[in-house]
Symmetry: C2
Subunit: 163 residues, 2 copies
DNA sequence: GCATGAATGTTATTTTATAACATGCACACG
DNA sequence: CGTGTGCATGTTATAAAATAACATTCATGC
């Protein structure tokens, strides 16, 4: 996987378009794979994409409840499971939360830079990091199946605001 | 932090000595820092070190209960909090579990290679990985405060056993 | 139409973690 | 030696995150 440019969402951007694009990509991807992006799954994906920040399952549950009346946890968790299986969202382990994937086409795990101030999370797929990890794995004779790389700190914007 | 040799615990090793050494290091470290490694905290640390695998808080709770009668969750969580604050244990986010740190003297976060078969986890502090992450953070203008790097897969031993 | 399997609904429960307040214990100071 | 002050632990209750198990609904292929 080649490096991509910083996935840092510009402070101000056309977020509606950003969400629409994500949903559109999801539609096309599922269609191509013969998977069913049902209304519920689509709606959950839309909620995940409503912010460029990881969101907890119960936050999503509450949002969803606002839109379609009382909803039980399995409803959301099943949708999240599906979306994860399709690579449309990632789980942020250190926050028990979920975030939309900007590049769902190819399977990957990504590295997440998460600002503790504004909560924004940027996904990178830096070959440099993956390769460094691969080299160490090789040294150990370890076969990696799943990667979790999460960096918590302050994003540039929040650092500058803090000065 | 320089690279260390693989922290892979040899399949067969004198584990009693290994635990004893960890406890001893903890004692000295806390003494030097003027922190109190109480009987409870020591006992929890010993339980964490009982295996080279991440263990859940409630597993530890159960073990602890066997040794000192009924114990409530906060008892264990508070001990774990202390041990973490002293750098004596690490939390494995992707497993909600804890593992002893073999190099508690210097603050660091480490990279964890966790075998899904034998459950053994190896801690590395590979400068190569840290540096690759640092470079990307720099590019983003992101100030890292906390790192989570967890690789799940198959260790060499289990791969060979599987063939 | 209708059978089939996938998706969703529903209820209950498990697992992980923390809040809030009570009690105990060790050391610092007089 | 008290004793009181602050940290450590005990206790009870609850919050937060996730899943198990079974019922119902719905879309699609025949």
């Amino acid at each position: 996987m080649p490096d991509r440019n910083p996935a840092l969402p510009p402070a101000a951007h056309d977020h509606a378009a950003c969400v629409a694009e994500a949903l559109d990509r999801a539609e096309r991807l599922c269609a191509a794979r013969g998977e069913r992006l049902t209304a519920l799954r689509r709606q959950v994906l839309e909620l995940v994409w409503s912010r460029h920040a990881p969101q907890g399952a119960y936050d999503l549950l509450e949002e969803l409840g606002r839109e379609r009346g009382r909803v039980a946890p399995p409803t959301v968790y099943r949708a999240l499971d599906f979306l994860q299986a399709q690579g449309l969202i990632h789980r942020i382990e250190s926050l028990n939360a979920f975030i939309g994937c900007p590049v769902p086409e190819a399977r990957h795990s990504g590295q997440f830079f998460i600002c503790r101030s504004c909560r924004t999370a940027a996904e990178l797929d830096a070959g440099t990091i993956d390769k460094a990890i691969d080299r160490e794995a090789q040294r150990l004779g370890f076969a990696i199946e799943q990667r979790t790389v999460e960096l918590l700190g302050l994003c540039q914007g929040c650092r500058e605001a803090a000065r």
